[in-house]
């Protein structure tokens, strides 16, 4: 199915090269008899948007759940900033600087934006919660990400539009000083204008030096925002390449069959 051998990649980052922010080698995970991931290798560099593509059941969600500490991989190794790590819980991932924005957004509807952004990490002062400091930090973070459509940070999340909710979820990840932001289908439920808004936000995040990993079915989004495209097929990582060296047909081939013989021809690019 694929000619790539996981073993072909060195087990440890070489001494000369700058280690990527996150390096996965040989990550496998099975649920009973179902092999969800088999020997997945992947590097996630800082300052880049890496798209993770794959058909339903290819293992995209399992892979991000392994990275964000929800599932423990059965085997394989993870390096974070060059050092081997084990991420066992979401809070351990958060402590490293890995934040995941889930598809269902994982925001509490009846809490306001500030409460959601600081949920689990409330700032305290002697007499109780430091609401002023939290409110200011939330507002500053939203402003710094150019999220300007939110009327008040004291609005409850249920009153926000889908794009605004996505923005709040992303801003929450930024607020918590994450170095890697993982997004699961960030535009799945959004209209055209809101999709643009969220993709712009994703781009700004990478330009600020965050590593961003997005899982998406939508190839329009992938080609619009990603620097690199990784494709999973039946639990195996079949291809990782820069977006410039790929096109829709190649990605579709890889997603459906696990391989593609097509070569991108672009003007001014040697074949």
């Amino acid at each position: 199915m694929t000619s790539e051998q996981p073993g072909a990649v060195p087990d440890h980052p070489g001494p000369d090269e700058e280690p990527p922010l996150l390096r996965l080698r040989g990550v496998s995970k099975h649920f009973g008899p179902v092999r969800a991931l088999t020997g997945v290798d992947l590097d996630i560099p800082a300052g880049k948007v890496t798209a993770l593509a794959g058909d339903n059941g290819a293992g995209k969600s399992v892979l991000i759940k392994c990275i964000s500490g929800i599932h423990a991989p059965d085997s394989g190794q993870m390096w974070w900033e060059g050092a081997p790590v084990h991420v066992r819980t979401p809070s351990e991932a958060a402590a490293l600087g890995i934040q995941t924005v889930y598809q269902d957004l994982a925001l509490c509807d009846n809490l306001d934006i500030v409460q959601n952004m600081f949920l689990g990490r409330e700032r305290l002062r002697r007499t109780g919660l430091d609401e002023v400091s939290m409110e200011n930090a939330a507002r500053e973070t939203l402003t710094s990400l150019a999220v300007t459509t939110v009327r008040s940070v004291r609005q409850r999340v249920a009153s926000l539009s889908g794009g605004q909710r996505q923005s709040v979820a992303i801003a929450k990840a930024v607020l918590w000083n994450s170095k890697l932001v993982i997004m699961d289908e960030p535009t799945a439920a959004l209209g055209v204008a809101q999709t643009t808004m969220v993709l712009d936000l994703v781009r700004r995040l990478a330009d600020r030096g965050h590593a961003v990993m997005i899982v998406s079915h939508n190839l329009n989004d992938v080609f619009q925002v990603a620097d690199r495209i990784a494709v999973l097929h039946l639990g195996r990582m079949v291809d990782v390449r820069p977006t410039a060296d790929s096109d829709r047909q190649i990605v579709v081939d890889l997603m459906t069959t696990g391989e593609s013989t097509r070569v991108v021809r672009e003007p001014g690019r040697p074949v």
């Binding site: 979401p90 809070s91 958060a94 995941t100 889930y102 269902d104 957004l105 994982a106 925001l107 509490c108 509807d109 009846n110 809490l111 409460q115 949920l119 689990g120 990490r121 409330e122 305290l124 007499t127 109780g128 919660l129 300007t148 459509t149 939110v150 009327r151 609005q155 409850r156 249920a158 009153s159 926000l160 539009s161 605004q164």
Partner: protein, 340 residues
């Protein structure tokens, strides 16, 4: 000079108009205790007009004293309901705890403070048992507390052997029944304890991380655990702290009836839920304020007292409370519904 206004609110982005209904909706969501407060004030005005004795300090003092037991229990009930749970056993635990306190003093000649601590521990353990069954065995709170309601009620009756226990006034355990006069108001220590409970938990729910986690866990346990909150621990803490509140309620009860009666709390289980629901706290969790439950407990007593003063058949009070419960739940559904 003209400037094109950018849409900057969710309503504008979605092309929605700020209607009156929408604004009322937003205000009620921010202040869940507002609508019960309006009902309480309106009821007070109406009953005051029907009978001028209603607003006499003596009468208002009686209302507060009558509300003190259910009011105290409603604090604990609010904590549990905010987590989207329910505690049907709350009154039974109070009676068991009060009986342990009174019986230890009366039959065991145990000093009052020690008896209080033991009775208090019984209430905390009962709360912990409910919390354990909900969080570890993963049973629905309704079923757990329906079961423990029977267990605690039967335990109380077996332990009491059908006897009521009366204690002399002005002992340590009955101190909660002693009167403190402020002007012409006759408050009891129990009433003040109940009000202090409300002050403490209003602060804890608004101003501590634990309070926020309680709301978050009740609103969306999955999102909360993804945010790093240990939701099981938060749930367990709600039942245990509710147990502690019930223990204090038991002390207030002993002072109020000068002893303990195994049949004293028959209606307290449901009355505490009624107070919380009328007080604007959502039975689906995550929304509400503890002060609303105080207002809810007062509303029930105000109807009881006001209709009696007006010479109305007391059955209408029960009917009125039933209507209020349905209105409160209906209002909650409306406030919860998101129109987008």
């Amino acid at each position: 000079m003209t400037r094109v206004a950018e849409p900057d609110t969710a309503e504008e982005v979605l092309g929605q108009k700020k209607t009156v209904g929408r604004q009322v909706h937003a205000v009620l969501h921010r202040m869940p205790a507002l609508s019960p407060l309006i009902v309480l004030v309106a009821a007070g005005v109406v009953f005051g007009l029907m009978n001028s004795r209603f607003f006499l300090p003596g009468n208002l003092s009686i209302i507060l004293q009558q509300a003190s037991i259910v009011g105290a229990l409603a604090v604990g009930q609010t904590l549990v309901i905010l987590t989207a749970g329910i505690d049907l056993s709350i009154g039974a635990v109070m009676v068991l705890s009060s009986l342990v306190m009174a019986k230890l003093v009366k039959d065991g000649s145990v000093p009052g403070p020690v008896a209080l601590l033991i009775g208090f521990a019984v209430a905390v353990l009962a709360g912990a048992l409910n919390g354990f069954l909900v969080t570890r065995i993963k049973l629905p709170p309704f079923i757990v507390t329906l079961g423990t309601l029977s267990i605690f009620t039967a335990g109380t009756l077996i332990y009491a052997q059908g006897q009521t226990i009366s204690l002399p006034a002005n002992t340590f355990l009955t101190w909660t029944g002693s009167t403190i006069s402020i002007g012409s108001f006759n408050l009891t220590v129990g009433v003040i304890m109940m009000l202090v409970l409300y002050a403490v938990f209003a602060y804890a729910l608004r101003q501590t991380a634990w309070g926020k986690h309680l709301y978050a866990t009740g609103d969306d346990p999955e999102a909360s655990s993804l945010a790093g909150i240990r939701t099981n621990r938060v749930l367990l803490s709600a039942y245990v702290v509710a147990g502690a509140v019930i223990g204090i309620g038991a002390w207030i009860l002993v002072g109020r009836i000068n002893g303990a009666d195994p049949n004293a709390g028959v209606n307290a289980n449901l009355e505490s839920i009624t107070a919380v629901v009328i007080g604007g706290t959502s039975l689906f969790g995550g929304r509400g304020a503890v002060v609303g439950s105080l207002i809810g407990a007062l509303i029930v007593q105000v109807f009881d007292n006001g209709l009696a003063l007006a010479g109305v058949d007391p059955n209408y009070q029960v009917l009125a409370v039933g209507v209020l419960v349905l209105l409160a739940v209906g209002a909650d559904q409306w406030i919860r519904s998101v129109k987008s």
